[in-house]
């Protein structure tokens, strides 16, 4: 069988996946009213998807901010503009790096675990068992994870960005000696709440959270019930999420600007 397997057409494959996921979304949303009964499950998923991702998000945020400040300081010092270090760090983090890097990390940390977990539940008949116990797995398993992803992302984005700015402050002010007051006042003078913070953290965060968890849940839910199928679906979650994040980021940025 495998020897004669037709060569995959990646474009058609990808389009089919997108269409499939698009059709999966209405089913997810249709299960939303029924999933309110399982509110506890959503809370529990928020713990796994959100709270458990905090460590990696905070660590990465800190380092991103630190390296950003280090690079910018050296470039800006050529023009004598090191006082803008804080501003540029903040703008870069709010507008792009915060949402995008958080979403990529989220896909790797939470997305894969959602896919693998649901895929394994499918492979070991747990989803069928729920159906048999008259519990709708769509409402009990899929939708709570999807919701948790959407809620968690903006919060994770915010934590990431906060740590990034603190990291930038650490390098810029504490190590490289930019004046503390200058650092903050330049930032506060140039960062806008709506255009930068809310657009970046909230709208981009919500969009990325929705896309990543939709992909993750869909891949897990429709995976072939084998260990190979689960492994493949997990990989696909990361690949598809990453592409989707960057593509949607471009569209959103063009749209929000």
């Amino acid at each position: 069988m495998s020897a004669q397997a037709p060569r995959r057409n990646f474009l058609a494959d990808g389009l089919a996946q997108i269409g499939d996921a698009g059709l999966f979304l209405p089913a997810l949303l249709a299960a939303l009213p029924r999933s309110f009964r399982y509110f506890r499950e959503t809370v529990r998923q928020l713990w796994f998807v959100g709270a458990m991702s905090l460590t990696i998000i905070m660590t990465c945020g800190l380092f991103v901010g630190m390296v950003l400040a280090l690079q910018l300081y050296h470039v800006l010092s050529i023009f004598g503009g090191t006082s803008s270090t804080g501003t540029v760090v903040a703008l870069a983090v709010f507008r792009e790096l915060g949402p995008v890097v958080t979403a990529l990390l989220f896909a790797g940390r939470a997305g894969t675990s959602i896919t693998a977990e649901i895929g394994l539940m499918r492979a070991t008949d747990q989803l069928s068992a729920m159906e048999m116990m008259a519990v709708d797995p769509m409402a009990y398993v899929a939708t709570p994870r999807f919701l948790a992803g959407i809620i968690a992302m903006p919060l994770l984005c915010s934590v990431f960005s906060l740590l990034a700015i603190l990291g930038g402050h650490l390098v810029g002010v504490t190590w490289l000696g930019i004046d503390n007051g200058t650092f903050w006042s330049n930032m506060t003078a140039n960062v806008d709440v709506w255009k930068d913070v809310i657009d970046g953290m909230l709208w981009k965060g919500l969009a990325f959270g929705g896309v990543v968890s939709l992909i993750a849940v869909h891949q897990g839910y429709t995976t072939p019930p084998t260990s190979e199928g689960v492994a493949y679906a997990t990989t696909r979650t990361v690949v598809a999420s990453s592409i989707a994040i960057l593509a949607i980021d471009f569209v959103l940025t063009a749209f929000l600007m």
């Binding site: 919060l155 915010s158 700015i165 506060t188 003078a189 960062v191 806008d192 709440v193």
Partner: protein, 171 residues
């Protein structure tokens, strides 16, 4: 049961932490941070040219921030810019013959309003207007003037070509 309870508590903590981070970012790293003015009073100033002055740009006196630009309007009848600034109530000793100028921080930095105190015993009150104002210094004008006044017949030829692209780039 206890297991479930701890999830709920941890999740609650996570949500609170996330919102605190968002609230901190929204209020402490943005222009909202400058909105600590508990009570302010408004002053007006007319400029023939405000350059790149923007809403919420700082208003400084002796280099110290005392308020911010509240609004910028074009006055149809007078053909100039009416800038309303809000000044912190604590700084209510600005003489009424003080002058306001649109200045630039550094050579290429952002523009702000600087107030040069006068000597009058009377102070400006809410709604008053600055009599003396000085418009924004246009870098391209400066360069143009320098090149025209600067010696050399050959250079006057360059002056045109050098000054022309500048306004485009500046706007």
């Amino acid at each position: 049961m206890t297991q479930r309870r701890s999830y709920a508590v941890g999740t609650g903590l996570f949500i609170v932490l996330g919102f605190l981070a968002l609230a901190y970012l929204a209020t402490q790293t943005t222009s909202l941070a400058n909105f600590d003015e508990g009570s302010t009073y408004d002053l007006k100033a007319r400029f023939t040219n405000i350059g790149q002055l923007k809403d919420r740009a700082p208003v400084k006196m002796a280099g110290v921030r005392i308020g911010s630009v509240k609004s910028i309007q074009f006055e149809n009848d007078k053909l100039d810019a009416l800038v309303t600034i809000s000044v912190d109530k604590r700084f209510d000793q600005i003489p009424d013959d003080s002058s306001a100028a649109v200045l630039t921080s550094g050579l290429l930095g952002d523009q702000y309003i600087g107030i040069q105190p006068g000597g009058s015993p009377q102070n400006l009150k809410n709604g008053d207007t600055f009599i003396l104002t000085q418009s924004a210094m246009q870098l391209e004008d400066l360069i143009g003037k320098f090149l025209v006044n600067g010696n050399g017949d050959k250079k006057s030829g360059d002056a045109d070509s050098a000054s022309k692209p500048a306004p485009d780039a500046g706007q």
